[in-house]
């Protein structure tokens, strides 16, 4: 391993950051698709309007969804225990997400294939579910990460999860789910203001503005709850970022307010929650002003900041355990080997800029408003 220029601890820290980058990439890129899906029944009243809305994201949603696939793959590759515990522990929630996501590709592709009102309404409903449900569950999942998840390990490191599906739906987790839905709806609304005109843009601006304000309020409420009541976790034993990944060699304590410890120790990190609130409020105001592009940047900033807020709060935890706190997963003891992290880092450095370059080229080619005539004029439009 002498050829790897970075030590293990640094690589782990870089991958913690890259995990954040990928999650933000997913939330910002696929997030507006989910938001547009969730807005579909509200902003489009006629079939022609619905068709326009679907075609605003039609050409790009597939590429955006790869952020989710890449995020899953990166968690698998860089933090295998996190992938193992969270995906099996949240089993039914994951299944519901999959169910909703399965509806999306077929919903897009199939809705325009048959000229029948009921057929189209069915797939429009599928697209709504495919947008709203994952947005909600991803937020609920993040809420549960903050609360800690009931799991432990056998000595062979077999994960054992002792919770159930409905236990995930605590008031705090649902609040987190609503933060996710409202912010993604605001984000999707900004995209609709960019890409459409007339009544669709009017409605999108109205509902998006309401959602953004609600998102800011709910997010702030969640922050207060975290600061006062929700127990956080802290590693009490000494941390050595160069040790082999085994989550069973540390001691962890749990008490209310601990999730604020990082913010107290490093006050500059407060910029994340502050931007989370300001971004959402700014996007509400910009939607009102019909500045779609700026509103999109504002809501995107807010979403990124919300993800960073959670990351900063729980650092160095990835997934705390509520039933056996010592088994909680941290970036220091739940990562891949040094060599795998290095290989993945090199791949990311090589390919991610290429991905970003051609993605932006695609958006440039597809620029311009989507209207009834532009949809009619596009072969293969949905």
């Amino acid at each position: 391993m002498d050829f790897i220029p970075l030590d293990y601890a640094t690589l782990r820290l870089i991958w913690w950051l890259l995990l954040g980058v990928l999650l933000i990439g997913f939330a910002v890129m696929d997030g507006f698709d989910l938001g547009v899906g969730a807005l579909l029944p509200f902003v489009a009243k006629t079939d022609s309007e619905r068709r326009i809305v679907v075609n605003t994201i039609g050409p790009v949603w597939e590429g955006n969804q790869v952020w989710l696939i890449l995020g899953g793959g990166a968690i698998f590759a860089a933090f295998p225990p996190l992938y193992a515990v969270s995906f099996s522990g949240f089993y039914l929630a994951m299944f519901v997400i999959l169910f909703a996501l399965i509806l999306r590709p077929v919903g897009f592709k199939f809705r325009g294939k048959v000229e029948d009102t009921r057929w189209k309404q069915t797939w429009d409903w599928a697209l709504f579910v495919g947008g709203a449900v994952p947005a909600l569950i991803f937020g609920v999942a993040v809420g549960n990460v903050l609360l800690g998840v009931p799991f432990h390990f056998t000595p062979e490191l077999r994960p054992v999860y002792t919770g159930g599906f409905f236990a995930l739906l605590t008031p705090f987790a649902l609040l987190a789910g609503l933060v996710s839905v409202t912010l993604l709806v605001a984000h999707g609304a900004a995209m609709l203001v960019i890409k459409t005109d007339g009544p669709i843009a009017d409605r999108a601006a109205r509902y998006g503005g309401i959602a953004a304000v609600a998102g800011a309020v709910l997010f702030a409420l969640g922050g207060v709850w975290i600061a006062t009541e929700i127990p956080g976790f802290r590693i009490d034993s000494t941390i050595d970022g160069a040790l082999a990944s085994n989550p069973l060699h540390k001691t962890v304590s749990r008490e209310a307010g601990l999730w604020m410890a990082n913010y107290a120790a490093m006050p500059w990190t407060m910029i994340a929650p502050v931007l989370g609130v300001i971004g959402a409020l700014a996007s509400a105001w910009l939607l009102r002003m019909r500045r779609g592009g700026l509103a999109f940047i504002a809501s995107g900033t807010s979403i990124a900041a919300v993800i960073l807020t959670v990351g900063f709060a729980i650092f160095p935890f990835l997934l705390p355990s509520s039933t056996m706190p010592n088994a909680g997963l941290t970036l220091w003891d739940a990562s891949s080997s040094r060599l795998t992290l290095w290989i993945m880092l090199v791949s990311t450095i090589v390919f991610l800029p290429i991905v970003l370059a051609y993605t932006s080229w695609v958006y440039r080619v597809l620029r311009g408003k989507v209207t009834e005539s532009s949809v009619d004029d596009t072969p293969n439009a949905y």
Binding site: S86, I343, V355, Y358
Partner: protein, 545 residues
């Protein structure tokens, strides 16, 4: 103890969702490349009909692609959902190719697929052609990385077990990528996809020719598909042979099970063409054998010996005892990481650790396993022979049939007689399901033949499963069956409807106010690009009665 019902249901769900996903993948692989070839002809010759062909097959491609995407996400998530210990145990190696697949391949394919459909009027001809090739390239890169991952499950190279982390860790990534099993499987699998695309295009075109409809498009499509299909069908069988050769070296039990070879035969072993394998009696009834053939295929020599199933069971028993020692040393290491004697014992036996884990099915403290449990665990290393024996023969039979089929098709095309051969057109139409049957059989052989291992010799399947509740797996399994059945019906109906509408509706000829990608059509110059070699495949329509 591990709940075997949950394990069996998890296996069933993974098998169903994977085989269902792979109904769509091969067509994506083959059709994307065929469309890229057609569009290349369009750009080279400027003939509008080749654009219409690309667009028409593109519509069918799109329905298939949507299904592939919908079912593909499920595959990536299921490793963590249903195979949590697998994810922990080998994620260090297995996760990387999956993530790189997303980064390098699927991003490319999925980002440009939107432009392929929506960009016809927004780009120049060349730009759109590049997009189409990038989609095809992305699909093929995807297959590469997925098969690197799968190849590692068959032949786990370049990794060791780390007692500190209780998992396999990578030591040599280059070995993982250039794993001979993975490389052979990659070319075998993508070639099978190309064959599927070629058959699909031939069958649909044959249908049109039989009806006397869309002859201009159907005839050209058949010409492309016949030559492409012949090359691909040859490649499938040659690389299938390469896979078999790789299995001789790395997966002896799978090979012996496929051949229902219970006992080691003197070299060169005979090939059992057909017979009735009897698992309990460990022999075959009604065998028809070709002497020497098996030894020649599998060892490429006259003196290479292929071990039979019962010999391999004996070897497995030996390794299980080694695995017990490795596990005992591992337990001591867990208590005291500095125990030098335990470390030495572990280093000596670690390669057998996986075999030791086979005993976990019978008891937790595997070091105290009884003789009977050890011999039972050794017998567990034998997959069920009859299903493997038969699915392999179905796959190989279809493979050889398809070579003959494409050879005839190619001959008819070059003679310009395909339209007159109604019998062949009927055969082409009814050959449609064959590549899918062969491919599903092939995956069955590959994965069922690997049992009882999730990772050959490293991690038993039952030990790899998540400890989820029985009701959870029942809910998800029922859910998948319902939604997948519904989607299959809808997709099939849409596909048939699209074929019924035909290219005139879905890809109408260029007209006034034609889009940019069509505007710059090169006016045909006599004796110029118009008369490329392709015209051999593209004769002027002959007047017919």
């Amino acid at each position: 103890m591990i709940d075997m019902t949950v394990v069996e249901l998890s296996r069933l769900q993974f098998a169903l969702t994977a085989m269902y996903h792979f109904l769509f993948v091969p067509l994506t692989l083959g059709l994307s490349l065929l469309m890229a070839i057609m569009e290349s002809v369009y750009v080279m010759t400027g003939r509008d009909i080749w654009r219409r062909m690309t667009m028409f097959w593109g519509v069918l491609f799109g329905i298939n692609f949507a299904m592939g995407v919908a079912t593909g996400i499920v595959m990536e998530f299921q490793f963590g959902m249903n195979w949590a210990y697998y994810s922990h145990y080998v994620g260090d190696i297995f996760g990387a190719p999956l993530a790189i697949e997303g980064l390098m391949a699927f991003f490319l394919e999925a980002t440009f697929i939107g432009l392929f459909f929506f960009g016809w009027k927004r780009m120049t001809k060349i730009q759109h052609l590049v997009i189409t090739w990038l989609v095809a390239l992305g699909a093929n890169f995807s297959a590469l990385w997925i098969l690197v991952a799968n190849g590692w499950m068959q032949n786990p190279v370049g990794a060791v077990f780390n007692p500190d982390t209780m998992r396999m860790e990578i030591t040599d990534f280059v070995a993982v990528i250039f794993n001979p099993v993975a490389q052979a499987k990659f070319v075998h699998t993508v070639s099978a996809g190309y064959v599927t695309g070629a058959i699909f295009v031939m069958s649909v075109s044959a249908f049109y020719l039989l009806r006397g409809k869309h002859r201009d498009i159907a005839r050209r499509s058949i010409a492309v598909a016949a030559s492409f299909g012949l090359a691909s069908a040859l490649s499938v069988v040659v690389l299938g042979d390469e896979s078999g050769y790789a299995a001789t070296e790395h997966q002896k039990m799978k090979l012996a099970a496929i051949e229902a070879m219970w006992h080691t035969e003197p070299a060169p072993a005979g090939f059992t063409v057909i017979g009735l394998p009897n698992q309990a009696g460990q022999h075959n009834r009604f065998e028809v054998k070709i002497p020497w053939l098996m030894g020649l295929i599998a060892t490429r020599s006259l003196d290479g010996e292929i071990p039979g199933i019962l010999d391999l069971v004996e070897r497995a028993e030996h390794r299980i005892r080694g695995g017990q020692l490795a596990y005992a040393a591992l337990e001591r290491l867990r208590e005291d990481r500095t125990d030098v004697a335990a470390r030495e014992a572990f280093d000596q036996h670690w390669a057998d650790l996986g075999h030791g884990l086979l005993l976990k099915r019978y008891r937790e403290d595997i070091f105290n396993a009884t003789e009977q449990e050890i011999s039972q665990a050794a017998l567990d290393t034998v997959p069920r022979v009859a299903p493997l024996f038969w699915t392999f023969r179905i796959m190989a039979g279809i493979g050889f049939y398809l070579i003959a089929f494409f050879a005839v098709a190619f001959w008819l095309v070059t003679r310009n007689r395909i339209e007159d051969s109604r019998r062949f057109l009927w055969i082409a139409l009814w050959s449609l399901p064959l590549p899918w049957i062969a491919i599903e059989c092939g995956w069955f052989v590959a994965e069922y033949g690997r049992q009882p291992w999730a990772v050959e010799g490293v991690l038993p399947t039952f030990y790899a499963a998540s400890g989820i509740a029985l009701k959870d797996i029942l809910i998800s399994l029922a859910g998948f069956v319902i939604i997948y059945t519904g989607l299959a019906i809808v997709a099939a109906k849409l596909m048939i409807a699209a074929i019924g509408k035909g290219p005139d509706v879905l890809a109408p000829p260029a007209h006034d106010g034609a889009p940019a990608a069509i505007d710059d059509v090169v006016p045909p110059h006599p004796g110029d690009s118009d008369r490329l070699a392709l015209d051999a495949l593209d004769p002027a329509p002959a007047p017919r009665a």
